[in-house]
Symmetry: C2
Subunit: 404 residues, 2 copies
């Protein structure tokens, strides 16, 4: 995985961040060094100029995920804005690997941003559920991951996507329904060698052939010709992919092969990782339940987990905290508030009072617990209203309503 | 490819036969040493005992391809006969890689035998057209190979298969129609590593990921669960695969993974190769037109090609031939007569008269020309009657008529 690692200087020693689609880890309590990652991956920083241009063109403020640097990196977002300026079409593509029925808070991040992008730019959206990937990587059966894709679709739908503009698909289902999708998969597979996926994904000779060829399955939805029902065979509708930056290796590969297929390279918006309760050295992960707040958690569970596990940036004692102040960069509660407290002023105030030592970690935890209890209860209320028919509608290949 | 090669002693030197799905070559004019191949591949010889049992159980003589050793090797044919004896079901699976619109004589061999098996055992048959494989291996587009699969289907249908018992499918089409097929593909892909396909197929690090994962696509039709329309979800209908022995590596791999999927291992009947006009060192190949008699050739083309190219086992001069006699083992016309002259007595007579020097190669060529002109004209007459609707019917996933 060396190719994807990013060096951090810690205590004078070169330590490495590990960032790939299967592992994210950092030796620093502040988490991955994203500036170094941008340099390593060769993407571009989302800077003030880009944010200003987005706000000017759309006539509304950017989502706080973008303003606060949670989405921090991009590839060719200016090209997408050029199109928008000329009233030319593009579409959004994001996804989820259904390895567990219970999605957690971190999983919401790309979907919240994607929903905002869909509403703001009024564009169609495809959401890939990689049940084939999760079968290949996990100790799960085909039936397990296929079923989980429908469970996860309910959580995704509960985020509030517009059914008239959104197609959600399980790979197992959609490959079995649309030849054009499999055709594009093989087109990508013909242009990528084992040497290349070895370099990009760290595969070796003992990797199964399913994993080796899978990157093409995640690449194919970047091309509008994979969706004849939506785009009527138009091969030249550009694609914008909002995703966590650990997925970038797939799309670097995709962008590499696209011109050779006479397809367009997808543009990207990269988010940082949602930290584990234990701190930003690792991201929140379903496979470690104590690291995660699930969308199925009760108000009590949310409260207990945050109180018990959320890493504190405060002093060892109240006296020390009052004297030296708290560290917002490592305090998990503060970091979560950056994601889920909309109110900029309030966040600013909490931050400066915490840094000054005026507020204790316990106060931040209390604020966070209230916000998350409400957010998750609301999500649960919406999810319970999602019927099997709704899922079927979202997951049926069909024409979407968009004005191009 | 060393793993698949078979050593021949030629002039005191160890020379190697090369046998894999992409190359068949031998340093011997008699062609590949099939006894050595059986030993190397670990299959079983079709012996008199097996032939007698087949004839006794079916109440009819075996096809001359089997009697004459053209189909010479098998895996678990006795298991298939055990089932037949107990009136339990099995199905046939064979295939073709559509790399060219013009199929040649050699391509007919597995289909002629398969048709005989279908009629004799009264069983369903699936025929895979690997348009995805040919896209990955050849300098052809997806559209090219997909179109060729329909052209080839017409030639296959013209062999006289029973539409009520036969399903022909293009991979691109069928994968895009049936999730169960892709599910089985990924099930196989999860159990096979790069190391394994490297050993079996000679892939290396510069092989594209499509080729690396393709063997699973050829494996999947060996399992009845890949055809829910035919077998209604029954996962335990055994499969018999008649094919040229160069395809055995795919099915050795398939037989290796089957038990781990709780599927049945497919049984096999292996044919020898149909020799090139130039002699048995290589097999007839569409990519070398002078080596091949095509199913589209005119009577004149057939005559000219045989007269011009068919390798002779006769003496250098008439005098030498009369004295020493001809060599039926290397004479291509005689070898082709073994395939296409039904009449055992006549073949025997021609052979002994040729060996004695009484008959010249020219006479064998004349006999062969007459037979092939008639065989190919008949094929062309049947092919012209195959309509697009017929093709559609054969290629629609559906219930087949069989009594289990």
């Amino acid at each position: 995985m060396a190719e994807l690692s990013v060096e951090n200087e810690v205590n004078g020693q070169a330590e490495e961040d590990l960032v790939n689609p299967w592992t994210v880890s950092s030796s620093s309590l502040k988490g991955v060094d994203y500036d170094k990652l941008i340099k390593k991956f060769g993407s571009s920083k989302i800077d003030d100029g880009l944010i200003e241009r987005m706000e000017k063109l759309t006539g509304k403020p950017v989502h706080h995920f973008i303003k606060r640097g949670i989405f921090f990196s991009h590839r060719e977002m200016h090209m997408i804005l050029d199109l928008y300026e000329k009233k030319q079409p593009f579409y959004l593509y994001t996804g989820r690997g259904p390895s567990s029925g219970s999605m957690h808070l971190g999983h919401l991040v790309p979907f919240i941003c994607t929903k905002w992008l869909q509403e703001t730019f009024d564009v169609p959206l495809v959401i890939q559920l990689t049940d084939d990937e999760k079968f290949l990587w996990k100790d799960l059966t085909v039936e397990d991951t296929h079923k989980l894709s429908f469970e996860n679709a309910k959580d995704i739908i509960a985020c509030g996507f517009d059914v008239n503009k959104t197609f959600i698909f399980s790979d197992y289902d959609y490959i079995g329904k649309c030849s054009e999708f499999y055709k594009n998969i093989t087109r990508v597979q013909k242009l990528v060698t084992f040497n290349q996926v070895k370099g990009i994904f760290g595969f070796d000779d003992s990797t199964c052939i399913g994993k080796i060829s899978f990157p093409a399955v995640q690449a194919a939805p970047s091309f509008s010709s994979s969706f004849p029902d939506i785009f009527g065979g138009n091969k030249k509708v550009p694609c914008l992919i909002p995703c966590a930056i650990d997925q970038d290796p797939y799309f670097r590969m995709t962008r590499d092969v696209a011109p050779r297929l006479q397809y367009l390279k997808p543009a990207l918006l990269h988010s940082s990782f949602f930290p584990a309760l234990q701190g930003a050295q690792s991201k929140m992960s379903s496979s470690d339940p104590t690291s995660s707040i699930f969308l199925t958690d009760t108000p009590k569970e949310i409260k207990n987990k945050i109180n018990k596990y959320a890493y504190s940036g405060g002093g060892a004692t109240v006296e020390e905290h009052r004297e030296k102040g708290g560290n917002v960069e490592v305090d998990v509660s503060y970091q979560y508030l950056r994601f889920f407290l909309d109110d900029d002023e309030k966040l600013e105030k909490l931050g400066s009072e915490y840094k000054s030592g005026e507020l204790l970690t316990g106060f931040l935890k209390k604020e966070l617990i209230t916000i998350l209890q409400e957010l998750i209860a609301d999500h649960q209320k919406r999810r319970i209203l999602v019927t099997d028919d709704d899922v079927k509608q979202f997951m049926t290949p069909r024409k979407l309503n968009y004005n191009y």
